[in-house]
Symmetry: C2
Subunit: 228 residues, 2 copies
Amino acid sequence: MITVLPVEGVPEVRPGDEIADLIAARIDLQDGDVVVVTQKIVSKAEGRLEPVADEDARRRLIERESVRVLRRREELIISETSQGFVCANAGVDLSNVDEGIAALLPDDADRSARHIRDALLARTGRQVAVVVSDTFGRPWRRGLVDVALGCAGIAAIVDLRGTADTRGRMLQATEVAVADEVASAAELVMGKDRDVPVAVVRGVDASWLREGSVRSEVVRPHGEDLFR
Amino acid sequence: MITVLPVEGVPEVRPGDEIADLIAARIDLQDGDVVVVTQKIVSKAEGRLEPVADEDARRRLIERESVRVLRRREELIISETSQGFVCANAGVDLSNVDEGIAALLPDDADRSARHIRDALLARTGRQVAVVVSDTFGRPWRRGLVDVALGCAGIAAIVDLRGTADTRGRMLQATEVAVADEVASAAELVMGKDRDVPVAVVRGVDASWLREGSVRSEVVRPHGEDLFR
């Protein structure tokens, strides 16, 4: 059984804040918990904020954060970021930040996750995993889902290839993106119109709790990508 | 708080089996539960099985199930199915079925979900929602995640556009694909190498529990799709 617990009452995050402190004061963590933290508050704590005076400034910022634009339609830009993510507007985000300010993606969200994980261990003595999540659209399917931008203490992908299925036949390709699924599960208690930027996913398979990296496991190299 | 419960001990499913019976005998459902059922057992119950003698037969079956091929590399075909899904090998699946047999996607997975929902209501008196899930790859990101092929009694997408964010600013585009996120959450207790084809997601926001449809809400019309 898995439980997904919202962490309520996290205050407004400012540059320099230690997110681990805000979490540790609000929930009793257990060993093996996966703490999911939305990109928004990670970016705020890391000071990844930029002023955007108008629509032109916003567009310039998106272009600066993009290494390549894949598609463009009216105000929407689908581009690849320097971190290798393909998403709308290079992750530049105007919601839930002050008027005239945009939040950018963390420079290295795996590192952000490791920092929070280590700080939680130091404060609570608990061995937890951390996923930094963001909300992405998808081709072909309407609607947004939360995915993992970075992780620490949990595999981004669990490779079940070569494991026999229940009939003893070898499974074909079954690399499950568990960090993404954990991010999606957490989103179910966060909502976009509520102020819940952190959730705890308790009870994941202990074998997944190894050192992981979204950047090296999930981001598809150009050569193997059929859609880049 | 949300809990995700595996439904253990579901036996091998055969054409004509009533999946609701297999579930109702194994878990006490509550009103508002979302019952997630993998496509594999839905396809088996509905008799969506075809013999595949060899690799050529498999390829012909994939082409028959596809309305359009988007990409092809060696044995992998990314195509659009008649249901409008874009996925690998048109959803034709050889794992966890008998040797020489392939499972095809349900003809109409929303209808499959409604059937299971109605049958569960008749047997248990419980008003539950149902999501039929499948395991899809994604462009740009490695690893597979479970998504919704069909749903009943739950919105596929919850539209939070126009809702004020916590600062009173209007949110831009925040249509959350909750049925997909529920499918991903359920996968966390299913695993691919265990025999857990059903899970219950308990505690989702009651406002999401309306009549929904993956086909009409999630499948992106060609005209608005930047990647089709």
